[in-house]
C-alpha cells in the first residue's frame, strides 16, 4: 500500500501531537524526579555524604615510636631495631592469586602455616586493595629474588617494619630479656592508644621492666589515601616520641667472659659492682638466641629449646633456686658474731661430727676426721661444718632468719631485675604453714651450713656478698645505669628500701672479710690454689650443694645420671679485699666441689675485671678494644 494516499494526515498529525505532549510531560516529570533525587543527595543529605567522603579519604594512621636502644656500660649496642621485610599480596591487583602463590612458593621458603594463614585472611572481609601478608622476615636473598621477578608479579609487595634485634643475643638473652608479638593477655593490659601501630612488647628482663621508657609515645598522622589504601599525602602529623635509650651497668666483655668460663656446662654467674649495686654480668648458661622469639619462634625451634635437658630457656641467675650450702657461712658468721652466739676467739672441737645431745643423731662434717680445734677464722677458711652447727644451735632459728633476711634472702631485693625469684628462707612459721610440721632442732642445724630447706638464687648470693664487700651498706642490685635522654633515671628506678646492716661492732665486717680472704690466701684455705699468685687480695667462700633428687619423669642414661647426680659447685666472693670493685656468685650445676670448679671461674672474672679491663674500664674508647663488637 503506497504511503499517504488514503491516510488522514491531519488526524494522524493531531494524534502525534497529543502523544508528544504526553511524552513531554513524562520527560519533564522524570527529569524533575532526578532533580529531586539530586537535591536530596546534594543538599538535604550533603553533610552525611561529606562525612562519608572524608572518612573514605582521610585515614588516621598511628606512627609507632622507634623503640629505645639498649647499651652496655661501655656504649656497646645490646638491643637495636632492624628493618624486617615481609612479602604481601593485594589480591585485586594480582589477578590469578593461585598462580602467583605457586610462583612465590617456588622462589621463597613458604611454609604450610604461612599459606594457611594467608588463605584464612583472604576469605575474611577486608577493604578492597588491602594487602595480605604471606611471609615475614625475608632474607636478603629472597628479597633479591623477588626484585628480579617483580615485573611478573603485579600486586606483590615487599614491606619493611622495624623489629628488635639483639646483636649479642646468646650472651644477653637472660640479662636483657626480649620483646615479642603482643599477645591477647597483654592486649588487655596495655594502653591500646599508645600501642596502636606497635606489634611488639617487652616480654622479659630489661625489655619488660622498662617497657614504658623504651616504648615511647605514639604519634599520629592524618593521611589522604586512595581506594587502594595507598597514602598520597600527609595532611598533618604529630610525631611520635621515640623510646629512651638505656645504658646498663652490664659489661658485655665480662658477660662474654662469664659465658666462656661456663661454656659446655650448666650454671650461672652474677657479678655486682658493690659501690653502685650495678650488675656487671648476669650469665645463665646455656643461653639462647632471643632473636628467634621476636618475630615468633617456629614450633620445631621452640621444641628443641624447651625439650633440651640443659634448659637453655631457664634463667638460672634469677630463677635458679639452689641450696646455698657453705657459701652462706660468711653471712651466718656475721649473724653469730653480732648476736653474741660466738666470739672471735671462741673455739670449737671438731671430731668430724656434731650432736645436739650425746645420744642423738650425728651431723657429719664434710671432713671425715674433723678439723680439730677451730676458731671462726679457721672455720671459715676450712669451711668447718661443726663450728657452724654449733653456732646455729646457739643462735637459734629466729636469730638466723632475722639476720639472713637482712642480707636479702627470702625476698627479691633487686630494683629493676624483672622475674627475679625470692628463694626460700625457711622459718618455723613457714614450715608449719606449708608442711604442717613443727620446726625440729635438726632443721636449725642444717640451716647452719646452708642446707635443708633454704634456697637462694645466684643473684641473691651475689647481693649478700656485695653487702659484705660494702661492709653493711645496702646498695640494691640494679641493671639501669643511665637514661640517655632528658628524663631522670631516678624517676624510673624504684626507690631503695633497705636499711644498712649496722653491727654492734662494725669491726666485725673487716674480721669476716679477712676470714674470707683466708679462704683464698690462707695456708688451709679451701680455695688457696685459686688465690695463689694473685697481685691483689680477694675474699671468697666455696660451697657445695647436694642434688637431692631427679624429677621422676626425667630419663637419663647411666653415664648422665652419674654426672647429673653430682653436687652443684658454688662460690661467692669479692675483690679486692679493700675497696672492692666486684662481687660475684658462681654456680656450676653438677660441677662437684666449689673450690675446684666454681672458685677458679671467679678468679678468672676477678682478674678480667681488675687487671684486664680496668685499664680502660668506663673509658669512652672502650668499644675499640674489641673490633668484633660494633660501636654505636
Amino acid at each position: 500500500m503506497p504511503w499517504g494516499e488514503f491516510k488522514d494526515t491531519a488526524a494522524e498529525r493531531r494524534l502525534f501531537q497529543r502523544r508528544a505532549t504526553v511524552a513531554l510531560v513524562f520527560v519533564f516529570l522524570l527529569l524533575a524526579g532526578l532533580v529531586a533525587r539530586m537535591y536530596q543527595l546534594q543538599v538535604v543529605e550533603h553533610d552525611i555524604y561529606s562525612t562519608l567522603s572524608d572518612r573514605n579519604r582521610v585515614q588516621v594512621q598511628s606512627v609507632p615510636p622507634p623503640r629505645g636502644l639498649v647499651y652496655d656500660r661501655n656504649q656497646v649496642l645490646l638491643a637495636e631495631n632492624r628493618p624486617v621485610f615481609s612479602v604481601t599480596l593485594v589480591p585485586e591487583r594480582v589477578g590469578d592469586v593461585d598462580a602467583t602463590l605457586q610462583q612465590l612458593v617456588s622462589v621463597l621458603d613458604v611454609s604450610d602455616e604461612d599459606l594457611e594463614r594467608f588463605q584464612r585472611r583472604l576469605r575474611e572481609p577486608r577493604r578492597p586493595f588491602q594487602e595480605i601478608p604471606l611471609r615475614y622476615d625475608l632474607t636478603e636473598d629472597e628479597i633479591a629474588r623477588l626484585a628480579v621477578l617483580r615485573h611478573e608479579l603485579p600486586g606483590v609487595e615487599v614491606e619493611a617494619e622495624l623489629v628488635r634485634y639483639y646483636p649479642h643475643s646468646e650472651l644477653t638473652a637472660h640479662a636483657l630479656g626480649f620483646v615479642g608479638r603482643i599477645n591477647r593477655e597483654e592486649l588487655q593490659r596495655i594502653d591500646s592508644v599508645n600501642y596502636a601501630g606497635t606489634n611488639y612488647i617487652g616480654k622479659s628482663g630489661v625489655e619488660r621492666f622498662y617497657e614504658e621508657l623504651l616504648h615511647g609515645k605514639v604519634g599520629y598522622q592524618h593521611v589522604e589515601t586512595n581506594a587502594r589504601g595507598r597514602t598520597l599525602r600527609v595532611l598533618d602529623r604529630e610525631n611520635p616520641v621515640p623510646g629512651e635509650d638505656l645504658q646498663l651497668h652490664l659489661d658485655l666483655r665480662l658477660q662474654n667472659r662469664a659465658h666462656e668460663l661456663l661454656d659446655g656446662r650448666r650454671g650461672a654467674i652474677v657479678a655486682i659492682e658493690p659501690a653502685t649495686g650495678g650488675i656487671l654480668a648476669l650469665a645463665s648458661v646455656p643461653g639462647f638466641d632471643a632473636n628467634k622469639f621476636v618475630t615468633g619462634i617456629s614450633v620445631p625451634d621452640y621444641r628443641e629449646l624447651s625439650d633440651s635437658k640443659d634448659k637453655p630457656l631457664f634463667n638460672r641467675a634469677l630463677r635458679g633456686q639452689y641450696p646455698p650450702g657453705s657459701t652462706l657461712k660468711p653471712m651466718l658468721a656475721i649473724a653469730a658474731l653480732d648476736s653474741g652466739a660466738v666470739t672471735r676467739d671462741h673455739s670449737v672441737w671438731d671430731p668430724g661430727y656434731y650432736q645436739i645431745n650425746s645420744t642423738g643423731r650425728r651431723w657429719r662434717d664434710w671432713k671425715r676426721g674433723g678439723h680439730g680445734w677451730v676458731d671462726l677464722t679457721h672455720a671459715m677458711a676450712q669451711s668447718c661444718d661443726v663450728y657452724f652447727y654449733e653456732a646455729a644451735v646457739e643462735m637459734g632459728v629466729d636469730t638466723m632468719v632475722s639476720y639472713l633476711s637482712r642480707f636479702g634472702f627470702g625476698e627479691d631485693a633487686t630494683l629493676d631485675v624483672s622475674g627475679a625469684l625470692s628463694g626460700l628462707l625457711p622459718s618455723p612459721d613457714w614450715k608449719r604453714a606449708t608442711r604442717n610440721e613443727p620446726w625440729y632442732p635438726g632443721d636449725t642445724v642444717n640451716l647452719g651450713i646452708g642446707q635443708g630447706f633454704m634456697l637462694s638464687t645466684p643473684l641473691q648470693l651475689a647481693t649478700a656478698t656485695a653487702l659484705i664487700a660494702n661492709r653493711g651498706e645496702w646498695v640494691e642490685p640494679r641493671l639501669l645505669k643511665d637514661i640517655q635522654g632528658d628524663r631522670s633515671r631516678d624517676d624510673f628506678l624504684p626507690d631503695e628500701t633497705h636499711e644498712p646492716l649496722k653491727l654492734k661492732d662494725p669491726g666485725n665486717w673487716e674480721y669476716i672479710a679477712d676470714a674470707m680472704a683466708e679462704v683464698m690466701h690462707g695456708v688451709k684455705g679451701t680455695a688457696r690454689r685459686v688465690g695463689r699468685g694473685a697481685s691483689y687480695r680477694m675474699a671468697g667462700k666455696t660451697g657445695t650443694a647436694q642434688v637431692f633428687s631427679l624429677a621422676e619423669d626425667e630419663e637419663y642414661d647411666a653415664e648422665e645420671v652419674r654426672e647429673r647426680l653430682r653436687d652443684h659447685a658454688l662460690f661467692v666472693g669479692f675483690a679486692p679485699l679493700k675497696n672492692p670493685q666486684i662481687a660475684v656468685a658462681v654456680i656450676v650445676e653438677n660441677g662437684g666441689g666449689g673450690s675446684s670448679t666454681a672458685a677458679p671461674v671467679a678468679r678468672e672474672l676477678f682478674d678480667a675485671w681488675l687487671l684486664e679491663f680496668s685499664a680502660v674500664a668506663d673509658g669512652p674508647s672502650i668499644s675499640k678494644a674489641d673490633p668484633t663488637i660494633e660501636a654505636p
Binding site: R14, A20, V27, R57
Partner: protein, 380 residues
Amino acid sequence: MATREVFSSTASNPLGRPRGLWSALHLDPILLVLLVALVSGGLFVLYSGADRNLDVVKAQGVRFGIAFVVMLVFAQLDPSVFRRWAPWLYIVGLVGLVAVLFVGVGAKGAQRWLALPGLPRFQPSELMKLVVPMMAAWYLSRHFLPPKLSRIGVGLAIVLLPMVLIVKQPDLGTSLLVGMAGLFVVFFAGMSWKLISAFLVMVSVAAPLMWFFGMREYQKQRVLTLLDPQSDPLGAGWNIIQSKTAIGSGGVDGKGWLQGTQSHLEFLPESHTDFIVAVLAEEFGFIGVLILLSVYFLIILRCLFISVTAQDSFSRLVAGALTMTFFIYVFVNVGMVSGLLPVVGVPLPLISYGGTSTVTLMAAFGILMSIHTHRRMITA
C-alpha cells in the same frame, strides 16, 4: 487545541526551519549548538573522570569527530531513504544478532561483537537501536493510525524478536533500550490508553516471573544491592555507596574541577564511563547537575519539536522514538548512578567514554536533522 499551539506556533517562525547554509548542510543549528555544548562540556568532565589522562580525552575527541561525520552523512539522506531501507536493515540486523550468538566475540561472558573480515568490528545490537524503531515505524505508518489491534501485535513482535536475541547474548541493558525504542513507536502511533494500561499490567505481572526465570544471578544481585547497598558494602554495594557519596559530598556548588576526592582517589569505580555523572555532581555540585539536565532537556525539547513538525507519520514516529530513547539513556544512567535504579550498563549519552554508543546516538541525531531539513514542497 492547546497542544497544537505548543508545537505548531513555532512552525513558521525563524527558529523553526534552518535557512541558507544550514539548510544546504542539512543541519539544525539549534540542535547542533546544544550537542556541541554538551559534548565539549562533557570532555572537561571526562578529563577529570579519567584522572587527568589527556589520552582518554583525545581518543574520545576522535570518536566525536567520527560520530559528527556519521551524523552529517545521515543528515544528508532523505527520510524516505531510511524508510525504504528499514526492512532490509532490520533483516541484516537480525542475521547479525543470530550470527553473534554463534560466532560473536566479546568479554565477561557476553558475546556482543561481530568481527567480519574486511569490516570494522561492530555490535548488531547497537545497530538495532536505530533499526527497530525505523522498522516498527515503517510497518505501522503503512496503514492508518491509530493502528488496529492486530497491527499492534505485529509491531510488538517486530520489537520483541531482536530483544530476545539481544537478551541471549546476554545484554539486558541494550535489550531494554532497543525494546523501549520500539515501544515508543507503538506509543506515538496511537496505541489506545486501554491497551497501554493492559500492557503495563502485563509487564508488572511478568516482572516477578522474569526475576525467577529470566534474570541471571548477577542481575538479581544488582537489584538486591539497589534496595540495600549496605548488605554488601565492599562487594556489589560498593559502586552505589561510593557514587552516592561522591554526589552527596559535592553539595550545592561542588568541590571544584579536578578536586573531586571520590573520583581522583579511585573510590568511585568506572569514573570515566558509566559513573561519570557522579564526577560531575561531585565537582560541580547541584548547580552542575541542574545545568547538565537542562541541556539534556533542551535537546529533548528540540527533538520533540522536530518530531512534531515532521512531514509524514514515518518521520514523526522515528523521530519521536529516537528522542525518547535518548531520554531513557539519560534517565536510566543518572537514576542508576544516584541509586534510584539498579546498575545496568547504560552510559551517560555523549559524555561517558566509549565509542559505539556515541556513534549510534549521533547517527540518531543525524536522522532527526535529516527529517527536519528535508522538506517536500507539499501544499496540503
